[in-house]
């Protein structure tokens, strides 16, 4: 079955193509991406906290905005935990290697 009729990564700028960078650069790119993702999750959580505080203080207009912000923060956090679990699993797998 043909899923993709062309390589979706073919048009990517050269600096994003992993094969043309060395291991150290790749590691830094990876760390940067993780940091960005964590910051984004943190931002969603902060927004949710602020809206919850506003709700408690009676300063909100729409109750659903509070619930949606909380739900977004929770989903983003679940995604982060899932990714962390996978990274740690891979790390453990490497550590278990015997020579």
């Amino acid at each position: 079955m043909r899923v993709l009729d062309r390589n979706p990564f073919a048009d990517f700028p050269a600096k994003l193509r992993p094969s043309q960078t060395n291991a150290k650069e790749q590691w830094f790119q990876f760390a940067e991406k993780i940091q960005g993702a964590v910051d984004e999750v943190d931002g969603l959580d902060k927004e949710s906290q602020k809206l919850t505080q506003d709700a408690v203080l009676g300063r909100i207009e729409n109750l659903h905005d509070v619930m949606i912000a909380a739900e977004k923060a929770r989903t983003a956090m679940n995604l982060t935990l899932e990714v962390r679990g996978k990274v740690i699993e891979a790390y453990k797998e490497v550590m278990r290697m015997q020579f």
Binding site: P8, N62, H64, I68, E71, K72, T75, A76, N78, K86
Partner: protein, 147 residues
């Protein structure tokens, strides 16, 4: 089009329906109001919904097709219904004219109740949509999970 686009679209629907609910409640509250600041009885108000302009779309798809997903709904204006007022014969009313007729608001309470039910159901529909997309996220997170 981010990860939470569906939720943002549904949230705009929730906000719009809630505003419509406010307007309907105001109409029901003023069903017997014969005096307003502008003079004359209260006029029924109604919300005008408009589709929000679609924003940036998924870049790989955009090159192939210019079609983009919309960005939800918003209430552009709250207009007043220009239907004629109801005339009710009540000579003792202070706002009655010389023939004894009082001009009452052009609000049909049954109509407003039906609108209220549609607003409630539309709100519930948007909530279901949010829950469905949340379920999608959660089942996507379950990909590859060890049982």
């Amino acid at each position: 089009m981010g990860m939470f686009h569906t939720i943002d679209v549904s949230a705009s629907g929730l906000t719009a329906e809630r505003l419509r609910m406010d307007v309907i409640s105001n109409n029901i509250a003023n069903v017997n109001t014969t005096r307003t600041e502008d003079g004359g009885p209260f006029r029924r108000q109604l919300c005008i919904f408009q589709a929000r302009k679609p924003m940036a779309s998924f870049p790989l798809m955009e090159r192939r097709k210019p079609q983009v997903v919309g960005n939800g709904v918003r209430v552009t204006t709250i207009m007043s219904d220009q239907a004629p007022f109801k005339l009710i014969y009540d000579p003792n009313h202070p706002d009655a004219d010389k023939d004894g007729y009082v001009r009452m608001p052009n609000i049909n309470i049954v109509h407003e109740m039906v609108d209220m039910i549609t607003a409630t159901r539309a709100y519930e529909g948007n909530v279901s949509c949010i829950n469905a997309s949340k379920d999608l996220f959660n089942s996507a997170l379950g990909i590859g999970a060890r049982r």
